[in-house]
């Protein structure tokens, strides 16, 4: 009986945890690439960032706002972190929790960046933040930190 109670408590604790914190997957570029070329009806907002990058962190709440504001418009926000080093996934998860950002996040861990930067966009020089906004018809790459107004204007241009 005791064991059963312990088990139930354990399981419920687990569930509480999974609600508050997302598990962050680490992928290489080959694994990330399909996400940059979806042909469904969703509009994708893909932001490349890192916890250490000051302008990235500053603009990050804008993506959370957009995610909520466009929830009914078939928009998916994905935060692609370029953090590296020990416990990168942990650091990113804790950071997003603290900032109350619940957008889908993944870590891109592929150190031969010269091989893949151009495949994201040929005009990208490798500095972050950058943001790719696309659907099956249109594609806009913003190679600078965005403002709230610019972000929603660009998304509207893609959607409409």
């Amino acid at each position: 009986m005791k064991i059963l109670i312990t088990l139930i408590v354990l399981i419920s604790m687990n569930e509480i945890q999974s609600v508050s914190a997302q598990e962050i997957k680490t992928v290489n570029f080959a694994q990330l690439k399909p996400l940059l070329h979806q042909t469904n009806d969703t509009t994708y907002v893909i932001n490349f960032w890192a916890v250490w990058c000051k302008p990235c962190v500053k603009e990050l709440p804008e993506f959370e706002k957009i995610r909520k504001a466009y929830a009914a418009k078939n928009l998916k926000v994905v935060l692609v972190s370029l953090d590296f080093g020990a416990h990168a996934a942990d650091r990113v998860r804790k950071f997003l929790d603290r900032k109350e950002i619940h957008a889908h996040a993944i870590i891109l861990d592929d150190p031969d960046a010269n091989a893949w930067i151009e495949k994201v966009d040929e005009n990208w020089d490798g500095a972050i933040p950058v943001t790719l906004i696309y659907n099956k018809e249109k594609r806009i790459f913003l190679s600078h930190a965005i403002t709230s107004a610019e972000l929603s204007k660009t998304i509207d241009r893609i959607i409409n």
Partner: protein
């Protein structure tokens, strides 16, 4: 009126040129920047150099930190062969306090930099070169008294782990120049911290 228009066009042309920075094959400008020891340094001071490994880098960027030992190793290996490293911090310390001149001095002392570490206080040099991130490497080769840009890009193909590097872009480029050949890879891209500037 015509004169004004001409001036306007000239101005736009200048701005465009500045924004683009150098491409491989361009002639690079010399500069005068303050080193961490207080002395002002120009590339012209290095009369016996065959060229330079100019690296825009800083104290704070994780990529610059990951590469610091490799930058020291490149300087040690190639200075005696005529290609010294010239490191330049392009960041505005008002935006990144960790990249102040005093913090540059501390960092260079602690890490025993074997090369000059210059402060681009007016942020003119990185703009002229077209550097956008740290670290960002420009290999210059002296030819007929001019500095020709022969390579622009990253140091190698693995910022995370020096032991897993398979392509040593910068070393390969200098090795080619030492044999009076053109580098086979002249341009690479890398993830890096954007250079912090108010405008």
């Amino acid at each position: 009126m015509k004169k004004l228009m001409f001036l306007g066009i000239l101005l736009i042309a200048c701005i465009t040129i500045q924004a683009q920075g150098y491409k491989v094959g361009d002639i690079a400008s010399d500069f005068q920047l303050k080193n961490i020891d207080g002395k002002t340094i120009s590339l012209a001071d290095y009369k016996y150099a065959n060229g330079f490994v100019v690296i825009f880098t800083c104290n704070t960027c994780p990529y610059a930190i990951a590469y610091k030992d490799r930058i020291i190793a490149i300087d040690k290996k190639y200075k005696s062969k005529g290609y010294p490293v010239i490191a330049i911090n392009p960041n505005d310390p008002e935006l990144v306090p960790g990249d102040s001149y005093e913090n540059m001095q501390k960092r260079a002392m602690r890490k025993r930099f074997t090369f000059p570490y210059l402060f681009d206080a007016r942020q003119e040099v990185f703009k002229a070169y077209g550097a956008t991130r740290t670290p960002h490497v420009y290999i210059l080769n002296k030819k007929d008294g001019k500095l020709v840009v022969e390579y622009i890009g990253t140091i190698d193909d693995n910022y995370k782990d020096a032991s897993l590097v398979s392509k040593t872009y910068v070393e390969d480029a200098i090795d080619a120049l030492l044999q009076h050949k053109k580098p086979s890879v002249k341009f690479t891209k890398a993830i890096g911290c954007s250079i912090k500037s108010k405008g």
